[in-house]
Symmetry: C2
Subunit: 200 residues, 2 copies
DNA sequence: GTCTATAGAACGATAGAC
DNA sequence: GTCTATCGTTCTATAGAC
């Protein structure tokens, strides 16, 4: 096994610090100090701080995306019309799982999604959109009376609950354990997704 | 009617810019430029940028807090045990309403709550805690089987959905109107809050 | 209360030696 | 690929004139 390499150590340090302090709250100096690398290494390996963020985000999102996709494949292999509760678990569950890179992944994603800074947007790729579209279609079949727009609202609600829980786990004095949060969230979200359409 | 006064104009400008760009993304210069005031006025009127944020947050939270409290009073005047759906509407509804100061209030609160910066924490006061405790007690009566910790999780879920919707309304190309979002959110959240306790 | 001026520190980026 | 050194910018905060 080769040594981790400066590039990877910078990615690890940046992931941790962006999650803890946000993009603007993290300096390149803090990242390279934590990584044990030189200040100029970020420029050499990534070009700029914004491009480093994009690399960190891509690496963090990828395993979640893959788990969501595999979960949907598994459900669709059994039936063409999986029930709402199963879809919720397959979609939301990976957001609570500990990923190989560590436990900070979801926290990072919230920080990115809720940061108003311009650099935080536009790094999602076609893979993320494809998974989202597949779940969208599956939920539409499971919830035939729901309009596209209200379903879109509800899918964002899933992300919101998963995300803010992770923020809160860091800020609260008595954080819930990961397993309890996962179960509570799926109970909460399965009921929410199963609600009848809002009458207008 | 006296002129708005430099202090108020700074508060207005800071509320708008903190909501749009976050705390660290907003400079005192940008605030005083937008307010038509001098750079040194922030120091004179508020002491520091962090104290200005606290003043902005207090002013933004107060009407939401009052509306939540009045809504609960109204429900409790009719029955000692309001149903879950009514509690959800009274608690979450004000988060979607346009407040006197403008439409940015909820957006600001999300930005503050999800910002990892240290300055963002510790400005909530006893009034906010009191309202939260009263709703907590009312939900406990309406959901007798639910543990305190799972109820706490669900109350944070309400804030999460309301909050992220407001973020999204700014970022999406086709934002939902405020009224539709309010109705959809209350449908979604009433069903979620009414879910039976997670079996362990 | 409002202004000018500036101190003092941190930042992102990069040139150029090795 | 890694390092030192530094440029140019931007920031908060404040001293002191009016």
């Amino acid at each position: 096994m080769a040594s981790p390499g400066t590039r990877t150590q910078i990615l690890d340090a940046a992931e941790q610090l962006f999650a803890e302090r946000g993009f603007r709250g993290t300096s390149i100096r803090a990242i390279t100090n934590l990584a044990g690398a030189n200040l100029a290494a970020v420029g050499y390996h990534f070009g700029s701080k914004a491009e480093l963020l994009a690399a960190v985000a891509r690496r963090a999102i990828e395993p979640i995306n893959a788990a969501q996709s595999a979960g949907l494949d598994r459900l669709l292999a059994e039936t063409a019309d999986p029930p709402v509760a199963d879809l919720v678990e397959a979609f939301a569950g990976p957001l609570f799982d500990e990923m190989p890179g560590g436990a900070r992944t979801s926290r990072l994603i919230v920080t990115i999604l809720s940061d108003p800074a311009e650099e935080m947007r536009g790094w999602t790729g076609p893979a993320e959109d494809a998974v989202r579209d597949r779940y969208f279609a599956a939920f539409r079949r499971a919830l035939p009376g729901l309009s596209e727009r209200e379903l879109g609202f509800r899918l964002r609600g899933i992300l919101a609950v998963a995300a803010v829980d992770r923020v809160d786990a860091d800020n609260t004095r008595s954080p819930v354990t990961g397993e309890a949060a996962r179960h509570w969230a799926i109970t909460f979200l399965a009921a929410a997704m199963s609600a009848p359409p809002t009458r207008t």
